[in-house]
Symmetry: C2
Subunit: 393 residues, 2 copies
Amino acid sequence: MTTANSNTPELLKNVLVTGGAGYIGSHVIYTLLRTHKYKVISIDNYHNSFPAALTRVSSLALSELKESSPEPSAQDIDSTVIDVHECDLINPTAVRSIFSSYASKGGIWGVIHIAAYKAVGESSEIPLTYYANNVAATISLLQIMQEFHCTRLIYSSSATVYGVPPDIPIKEETRREGDSVYGRTKVMCELIIEDFCDSIMNDGETNPFQAISLRYFNPAGAHPSGYIGEHPRGRPENLLPLLAHMAVGTVTDPVLKVFGNDYPTADGTCVRDYLHILDLAAGHVIALQALEEGSELNAKVFAGSTSSNGKFKAYNLGKGHGMSVMQIVDAMRKATGHDYKTEVIGRRRGDVPELIADPALARAELGFDAPRDLETMCRDLWNWQVKNPTGYE
Amino acid sequence: MTTANSNTPELLKNVLVTGGAGYIGSHVIYTLLRTHKYKVISIDNYHNSFPAALTRVSSLALSELKESSPEPSAQDIDSTVIDVHECDLINPTAVRSIFSSYASKGGIWGVIHIAAYKAVGESSEIPLTYYANNVAATISLLQIMQEFHCTRLIYSSSATVYGVPPDIPIKEETRREGDSVYGRTKVMCELIIEDFCDSIMNDGETNPFQAISLRYFNPAGAHPSGYIGEHPRGRPENLLPLLAHMAVGTVTDPVLKVFGNDYPTADGTCVRDYLHILDLAAGHVIALQALEEGSELNAKVFAGSTSSNGKFKAYNLGKGHGMSVMQIVDAMRKATGHDYKTEVIGRRRGDVPELIADPALARAELGFDAPRDLETMCRDLWNWQVKNPTGYE
Ligand SMILES: NC(=O)c1ccc[n+]([C@@H]2O[C@H](COP(=O)([O-])OP(=O)(O)OC[C@H]3O[C@@H](n4cnc5c(N)ncnc54)[C@H](O)[C@@H]3O)[C@@H](O)[C@H]2O)c1
Ligand SMILES: NC(=O)c1ccc[n+]([C@@H]2O[C@H](COP(=O)([O-])OP(=O)(O)OC[C@H]3O[C@@H](n4cnc5c(N)ncnc54)[C@H](O)[C@@H]3O)[C@@H](O)[C@H]2O)c1
């Protein structure tokens, strides 16, 4: 492990993060920078994000470094600087030239592929755009990785791959079945990555490519500094950001519409498994370590691989317990002091009553844990929203 | 219906056939030309085919026209001329410019999307190439169709979408589950096309796009003239072409390897549902007619659509009865006089014991029938092979 004080630090590994400026991407990059083991390269087209997120991530990491070690090494300082590329993943020429530019710098060691479109409703209106941006772009990224002998991938998957799950809590072995266009793009990407991991090369050798698919449940909150957070373009789609915007006044709806309170759940509203964005981000650092061939963690993770060549592995990232819409509203009421009014309207097409992770596998094999509680998520979200009522703009 | 003798023929409709030079594509185009209703545009990159196939198709149709009507109209003659484009579907700029070039000629009325890679074994070796060529290229084609307001599609699907079918004969409503990379590319394309058919446009209207997916069982044989037929590049993968090549001497294997004779079938070898390539091709002409909005056939076909907007429909194209490997060998022995030796070896990974279509839906709704029998398939195949021992080369 390279620390600020070690005399012979390992060289920084080049790690490419796609969608680096987005909500999850920015917190993942922050968490990577803090290890001082990686040179982070971000690719984003800012379709749903702002370059400012990356500037803030970088200065946050730098100021934390300086606080913890008064005389940081040049390499540790360098590890807080992000190589930022504005680039659209559906443009293979542009992506290829980024890979090329690192060939003389040791190449790209691994990729964390986070970029995607994610609005369920929109995905059924413009399905081809979703298939092109999520599926075709992933195929193209994998092809370019193969060309450049880059053999390590972490993929941003989602609980949505389970559709309406047959059992709660949801285990990773559950059959995958997308319930929306967005969900189907995630299932297809997993299948494609898995098939690629499974492929036999011309020379009869198995493909050295290894991939870990992280199936996120519901990430929430922000860095406690309030310096980075979630800032989607347009009206927030998800419950927590919507509540934060209502409290801060940037969304002026007088009432929160609750889609159905007649679900088979404790209070009748939908239940989701929320985890803190920094806990989720930490999962990526462990997963990246698990891609180091020859390590104990690597052996452990891929021993239990479900793919035929043992090179693909999927993990749920969730807390393992659920919060209903009403519980979330209450928690945000406490955090913000805002007096939310709610109105129950009909169920929304495509909503699943209950999505709760079985987090046992990630805990046992990765040592993954999501300790931060709902109160912390709401507090950090609110802190971000108050300090940045209009986000990065 | 435009006939050679009608005085005021309807204008020819521009129909784009992708993969037009391939085995199925060439016979489909031949069948389209004979209707004298379409101006056929072929796109092919000749990855697995030869431009000569298209020249032959065209002259075959022209000579048949001249035979049947001594003074054919200029339009009927024109309808036997194919607009041939050498073009790779994974290149959107090239495809777009072909669509563009027809904008001033009434646009492209409909697309029959046949082009794909289809070798099951190879697909597990180079999965990304298959996903790019079959899935990403289909997404791109659909996007270009949307740009050019081209709203009618026939898609070449396959019995492979059923994987190991839970019931025999197989009905269209059977769950889809690809059992190989190739199979998964076909399932994904169907899902993507279906989602596109289902999408709601910006203006709140449903997408006018209509698609018919034809799930082919096992096409075999050739045009009885022996002028066109199946000529894959490289060693034939499928049983019937392999037997034909063995008989004609272009494949010199002393014995035919039979993969397993311990399947739960009558003689223990795998059973497939073979239909004559010209019967299969005829199904495409009916399907194309079914895409004419306002027609009785159109109403009938899409009344029973399984997609939520009623714009997507899938049909099995098969005979509804099965032939085992051993029965095929016997039939080819009769047709060719060649004394095949067989050797039973172990089962081949990915082989499904039995694939037999339930053809009832296509019969009832499209009036589709596949009358030609196995003897005819073998005779026509052998006729082609003898006349063209090295195919189009
Ligand atoms: N937020 C959630 O609740 C959630 C849950 C499960 C899974 N996920 C997945 O996590 C990933 C990130 O989600 P997020 O909440 O951070 O979303 P986000 O929109 O904040 O981040 C996605 C980022 O990818 C970028 N991007 C999209 N398409 C791109 C392209 N073609 N080229 C370059 N950049 C592109 C966007 O500009 C954005 O910065 C997505 O894959 C999403 O499907 C999110
Ligand atoms: N032959 C069968 O037994 C069978 C059974 C079920 C389904 N199908 C499907 O039917 C279709 C045609 O099969 P076929 O037997 O005629 O195969 P084929 O290989 O003879 O024909 C496919 C044609 O598409 C062309 N092509 C492939 N990729 C292309 C690209 N990117 N751009 C342009 N052209 C491209 C090839 O050159 C070839 O001419 C395929 O979609 C296949 O999956 C075939």
